[in-house]
């Protein structure tokens, strides 16, 4: 057993007897990891990724230790309004990632199995539900959720809202993408402002909100410029670190943290060496805990994870003069809303932007949004002469994926890309 597994085993035993103690121990472990990183930073990671790693870790520690200062939110809720209300949002998926990163996912998946929740449900949501039902995670004073982008939200949030009797705000994003839909969401975001002011007893000034949306636009601008540089330059890749962009572009949007991250990322890319590594764009979550893939892919000098559609989609330039409309635009025009062909077209454009040699479409077990779209995205990429592979796996439950198979398939795909390049 390695250190992480021993820590997980100890935590599991503590959790059975005393969830509060387990929570404190887990938070202490995360704090120790944070402190260790200050003294011995992982220099294989770029400064932006190290910065993001620390900031997301702080968010998770806060969610565990000071839930009263937090808000549980689905990943696609606009962060600007929450930031303007002085609330610290955390996403269900982010917290589950950290629990999986601590080898605790099985403990909580087992809790949901015992409760009878379907095993086919998204493991990110199941891990969170298990952590909540076993009292590791305490509930915040309120929650904000949306139907964008997956059904997982529409089970987890209403369930906890009713079970724990927590005030909740729901944002409905229509299927169509037009100004009518934007105005419909805009109206709901204005109501969300009133909801937040009421619960936090704070005032949200529209001007301050406009500044935050302008900050999101600056972050988006920097992030997109950084992506353009991927064509010629590369940074060492690590699956876990690539996930930080997902949180920065969504629930962290509008915060100084997100803006700083995007600025640092651009600087990192500008200073990155020219490279002829194989560039892979990645669709959806990363199987960041899959042992064989971690060992092979993380920090590989020959392979670079150039872009991820879940991160990049959130970095959109939107209307900053009417911040409510701007935030609504980001939700309505998201590639995770509406037809899968939008997501397919976006991934073709993204692959061209980063000069991707190929695209891995990670078909996460439990995510019908991506599973059903995978074939459509692959076809669109192949029509554009961009090689693509659909990789079946589970982003938050490595036990649900045959480790050897996923490695073989990814390696074979990369070999194919290398051969293609040699013949060009």
């Amino acid at each position: 057993m390695d250190v992480r597994q021993s820590f997980a085993a100890f935590l599991q035993k503590t959790l059975e007897k005393n969830p509060a103690a387990a929570r404190q121990i887990l938070a202490a472990g995360y704090r120790a990891f944070l402190a260790y990183g200050k003294v011995h930073p992982d220099k294989r990671l770029s400064p932006a990724k190290r910065y993001a790693s620390d900031e997301v870790m702080k968010c998770i520690i806060r969610a565990l230790t000071k839930p009263e200062e937090c808000c549980m939110a689905s990943l696609f809720v606009p962060g600007e309004l929450l930031a303007a209300a002085g609330v610290n949002p955390y996403s269900v998926e982010a917290l589950s990632c950290y629990l999986a990163g601590t080898s605790l996912e099985k403990v909580f998946l087992d809790v949901t199995s015992r409760e009878g929740f379907p095993d086919t449900m998204c493991s990110f949501h199941r891990v969170f539900l298990g952590a909540s039902d076993s009292e590791l995670v305490r509930m915040p004073p309120f929650m904000v959720y949306t139907n964008l982008a997956c059904d997982g939200n529409m089970m987890t949030f209403p369930y906890l809202k009713e079970k724990r009797e927590i005030p909740a705000f729901y944002i409905e994003v229509p299927w169509e993408k037009n100004e009518d839909a934007v105005q419909y969401v805009r109206g709901q975001l204005v109501e969300l402002k009133a909801f937040l002011c009421d619960l936090t007893k704070k005032t949200i000034e529209d001007e301050a909100l406009a500044d935050l949306v302008a900050g999101s636009n600056r972050a988006s601008f920097d992030y997109m410029r950084a992506l353009s540089l991927q064509k010629t330059h590369t940074l060492p890749s690590m699956m876990t670190a690539e996930m930080y962009g997902i949180f920065m572009s969504r629930i962290f949007s509008g915060t100084k943290t997100a803006e700083t991250y995007a600025k640092m990322y651009l600087q990192d890319m500008e200073q990155a060496p020219a490279s002829d590594a194989i560039r892979i764009n990645w669709v959806h979550m990363f199987p960041f805990m899959q042992p064989s893939l971690r060992q092979w892919l993380n920090f590989s000098p020959d392979i670079c994870l150039a872009a991820n559609d879940l991160s990049a989609d959130g970095f959109r330039i939107v209307d900053e003069n009417d911040p409510f409309r701007g935030m609504a635009q980001r939700m309505v025009y998201s590639i995770f809303n509406g037809s899968a062909t939008d997501r397919a077209d976006y991934n073709v454009a993204l692959a061209k932007k980063t000069g991707a040699d190929g695209v891995v479409i990670f078909s996460h077990w439990g995510c019908r949004v991506t599973i059903g779209a995978a074939g459509i995205i692959r076809d669109a990429l192949e029509d554009a002469k961009i090689p693509a592979i659909i990789l079946d796996g589970d982003g938050c439950n490595p036990g649900n994926t045959p480790d050897g198979q996923i490695l073989t398939r990814t390696q074979a795909f990369v070999e194919m890309l290398q051969q293609k390049r040699e013949h060009q």
Binding site: E115, C122, Y170, T341, A373, G375, N400
Partner: protein, 578 residues
């Protein structure tokens, strides 16, 4: 003809165009086309739907964006289907004012799209004339809840329970409480369609809606005598609701999961029949005794036999009139259920030294019961295991049975009557088959595996629940030179976790009675052949934090229960004939 799959589909709108409508929920003959264009872990209904569109030559289909799978079905059919009119209606998740307004706009947009497509004119009178009510019956009924059920399943439930059934799934229970007068008087289409939107959204919500507390009404209906709750693999909404209501509903509840293919229907029959037994709507009939048999019974005594025809073994128990076991036999099921049953019965008769004709009733049970020529009636193995277990250990309240191709957790009352049960029969994990495959991977017999697993030293976690993945995990552990007893112990824990979860889902036993501190006074009992595997029993005890009673006759429990039913039927016949 307009096909649809959701109860929120505006059927009356199409009546206004003079169109007929039909639900598209039948079972396809194959899944050939869907296999080519739809991923395997999209939900079973979605794949069937894609296939049906092709198979039935559907030209017009209205979908709603009711779930992630339906959204992707729309994308797939749009890209690769061959329909004349395919429309995805954007369905809100609540019936608040602004959602109703928006839905009314969406309905008008659909009307316009259909007008443009067909050049037909909307007839308001025909529209208004098509509204019908579909209220709950005023007589006892079995509710079919959960996700869409195929007609054959509905028919099987009706047949097995012998009761009126009401389809309350997401495609059934379509009952619009409409302001018809208001609609008739509506000055313009906007007003008309707003009232229509309101009527559609005020239906009893499906679980996908954001206001499912209103669904409580279903569970509280006085005429509801039982619920068959249908879920489909990879449809999470209803699996999720089931997890929440399973311990709350006051009527017998049976969960069945299908992959929306006819293959599962045979296996489901066992469970539906057992469910019918729990709600007492199915009589356990046996053939009546002849006058000569009655005379012989009173003069010389009699015997009753039970045959349990399982996938791995066939078991026979013969009881005398005092319920004493006079013979029992266990033979491997091979060469067909019928041959094994006949052979096993004859061996038991030979052992007891009694002629066949002195056995006045034979009750069959187990998966093979439907195929047996022998027998005067059959009872499901769930009820038989409960009856047998209660006979062997009257304080039992929970029974775990790990069979060859399924595992069961059964809750019984103080009289041994089944009050609830859960089964896992859709996947080999947690069944005898899983053990056989793992023993094969380790190159051991089942007996060797049971014995070796007791001398473990280090805890190993087998993380894969899937049998195929677990097998490759075991192979790689062997390659890493991990000790075989440790691997077996890991496998035992894996099974215990799966089966323990099943038992936990039954909820706590009634009252404040102790569940026992030793094996002898335990209220949890394990039956079936796997009960002899001490490693698994210990792992289950550890998982459930309670002792488990093991009878020497654990493997015969199903056949014993069937034999008890046989003796009871003889007694009843003799009593009634006097």
């Amino acid at each position: 003809m307009i096909s649809y799959v959701c109860k929120y589909t505006p059927l009356e709108l199409f009546a206004g165009f003079g169109e007929s409508v039909s639900p598209l929920n039948q079972l396809p003959k194959t899944i050939g086309k869907a296999d080519k264009i739809a991923p395997s872990n999209l939900c079973g209904f979605s794949r069937s739907l894609i296939e049906l569109v092709e198979e039935q030559g559907v030209r017009n289909l209205i979908l709603t964006n009711c779930c992630d799978s339906m959204r992707r079905v729309y994308d797939i059919l749009k890209a690769k289907g061959n329909l004349d009119f395919l429309y995805l209606l954007d369905l809100p998740r609540t019936d608040e004012e602004c959602q109703v307004d928006r839905f009314a706009d969406r309905l008008l947009a659909l009307k316009k799209a259909y007008e443009e497509h067909t050049k037909k004119t909307f007839d308001r009178a025909a529209f208004l004339a098509s509204f019908t009510r579909n209220q709950l019956p005023q007589e006892p009924y079995v509710g079919i809840l959960g996700v869409r059920a195929f007609p054959e399943l509905e028919e099987e439930i009706r047949r097995s329970t012998g009761k009126k059934t009401v389809n309350l799934t997401c495609l059934g229970s379509r009952d619009l409480s409409s302001d018809l007068a208001g609609m008739a008087a509506a000055p313009d289409e906007k007003t008309l369609f707003r009232l229509y939107a309101q009527a559609l959204l005020s239906q009893l919500p499906c679980y996908r809606m954001n206001n499912h507390t209103r669904r409580e009404k279903i569970f509280l209906d006085d005429n509801l005598v039982g619920i068959v709750y249908h879920t489909i693999q990879f449809c999470d909404y209803y699996g999720f609701e089931y997890a929440q209501i399973k311990n709350r509903v006051q009527v017998p509840l049976l969960k069945i999961e299908t992959d929306y293919t006819g293959q599962s229907l045979g296996q489901l029959r066992t469970r539906i029949e057992a469910f019918a037994e729990t709600i007492g709507v199915m009589e356990k009939k046996g053939a009546a005794l002849t006058g000569e048999q009655r005379h012989m019974a009173e003069r010389e005594g009699y015997f009753g036999a039970g045959i349990d025809s399982g996938s791995t073994s066939t078991d026979v128990v013969i009881l005398d009139k005092d319920r004493q076991i006079v013979a029992s036999r266990i033979v491997p099921t091979g060469g067909g259920a019928n041959v094994s049953a006949e052979k096993c019965l004859q061996m038991a008769l030979d052992d007891a030294g009694i002629p066949r004709e002195k056995v006045l009733q034979i009750v069959t049970t187990g998966y093979g019961r439907a195929y047996l020529g022998e027998g005067d009636g059959s009872v499901t193995e769930i009820t038989c295991h409960a009856h047998g277990a209660h006979f062997l250990h009257p304080i039992v309240r929970t029974i775990i049975d790990i069979g060859g191709q399924d595992s069961k957790a059964i809750r019984v009352d103080e009289n041994g009557n089944v009050t609830n049960f859960l089964m896992n029969d859709k996947c080999a994990a947690g069944t005898g088959r899983f053990l056989e495959m793992m023993a094969g991977a380790l190159g051991l017999s089942i007996e060797e595996m049971a014995k070796n697993g007791l001398s473990w030293n280090e805890e190993i976690t087998i993380s894969s629940m899937c049998t195929v993945f677990a097998e490759s995990e075991v192979v790689s552990l062997v390659a890493q030179n991990r000790a075989v007893p440790d691997i077996i112990h890991g496998l035992n824990r894996s099974i215990a976790q799966r089966v323990g979860a099943l038992a936990n889902r039954l909820g706590p036993e009634d009252g404040n009675r102790s569940t026992g501190s030793t094996r002898d006074d335990a209220t949890l009992m394990m039956t079936g052949g796997v009960a002899r595997n001490e490693g698994i029993v210990r792992a289950l005890e550890e998982n459930l934090h309670r002792p488990i009673y093991i009878s020497e006759k654990a493997q015969l429990c199903g056949a014993l229960g069937a034999a008890l039913f046989a003796v009871e039927r003889i007694e009843k016949d003799l009593k009634e004939s006097k």
